[in-house]
Amino acid sequence: MDRFHSPSAFFFYGLFAFLILASLVARMLIRSGRVAGPTAQNLADRIRAWWVMIGVLALIFTLGAGAITLFFALCSMAALREFATITHTRRDDHDGLAIAFYLILPLQYLLVYFHVPVFAALLIPVYSFLLLPVVTVFKGEVQGFLTRVSETQWGLMVCVYCVSHIPAILTLDIPDYRYSAFTLVAWLILVVQASDVLQYVWGKSIGRHLLAPRVSPSKTVEGLVGGVLSASALGVALTPFTPFRWWEAGLIALTVTTFGFFGGLIMSAIKRDRGVKDWGTLVQGHGGILDRLDSLVFSAPIFLHILAWGWM
């Protein structure tokens, strides 16, 4: 079976090995009492959630492009739900939101899956931007109108448009590349999520200087630099599975992790403004799905464009 011997399959073998190690280390830390109380509970929850997330990803990668597209469509749905929940939208926005959830979101993923890139690129930034406020304006409620329609549009851009760029990578056919685009999706997710975890680890261990205390009380300069550089080193180490040269892999990894960091920061600012700590409760120990997806949201479109312009 080829799909069990593909590079992305080996990424998952490596991840499972790493998770076993992480679970053992966490158990030792908790047993020995070096980590205790709510921190220990959160650590255990986070690792358990990683098992689930990596398990689900491994399964959908085995099932193929349809499963991956459907999975990210469901992620978009859950993410848009979290986003729309904390906006100023009111009952007059019901119809606009219903169209966003039940029409625009599925249509975007159908356009991605059936590879209609021009429409997939225009549907939300142009057509939903122009037409969705029309549905709302006929409700006649002007209070907070700009705020409400902008928030809905932002929700669609962040949670649907940007997220749909992850499965869109699968539609790329890169010449002279001996692996499939699945590997590139796995590389992106791995590098960007590793950057999140490593920023957390570096920040917790040597973080001193707060980066943006008013936006996020936990992000430090040391965490950012350490996380981005070590995740980029991981990206370079995986060069043999990519169509890149080693220094290209390094630069691309640096770019996507930097954008991932921007994503985390911007989404934190939105949460802070709306007075919530987490986007939701869907992923145990992590908060909502947007808390996990925020960095990929901002890096996936950039990665797709780099591939489309540089390697095709």
Binding site: R81, T85, D95, L97
Partner: protein
Amino acid sequence: MTATIPARLTRAGLVATARILISLRAIDLPPPGGAPRILVANHVSHADFVALWSALPKPHRLRTRPVAGADYWERSAIRRWIAHQVFRAVLIDRDPASRRADPVETVAEVLRGGEDVIFFPEGTRNLTDARLLPLKSGIYHLARAVPEAEIVPAWILNLDRILPKGAFLPVPLNCAVRFGGPMRVETGESREDFLQRLAAAMLALAEAKG
């Protein structure tokens, strides 16, 4: 009365839909204290009692009956079936001119029988921009009629956006029901004082974060 299979399936379907589609969850539900309970919530949508009912843990849910207006729920065969078979609703006649039984006494009998009720003290759906309509005196009379019952204030979040009046398609926003600590009418407390205290407790839940 045991429920029929279609009624049970409808219940299970509603609970599953609420949990999956709108990620419904209960926040700070006080553990049962033995006394019958009057769960008291804001009312903005026809789906309110479904949401509150679905947010309860199963054993708790099975002994909880919504109090609803007979004028609405007796109007068609399907509504009658939903009210009686699915939710075992306690239907009361809201029109003093036509009613034959005292609504307070009807609900009080249910509580004395050891079951809990869901009660909307505003008396009707709130379709205004105000967070809460002035509370009707029904809840005060009910609490006085069953002094052992505890009143548990609750606030249903976001349902007016999920399924507003006139809409038939729910928009999937996260929904939660936040509960407050149990209350009783204090000795010598006047109707106005009690209703004010209850409204304040409910609004405090609406404002709470996290």
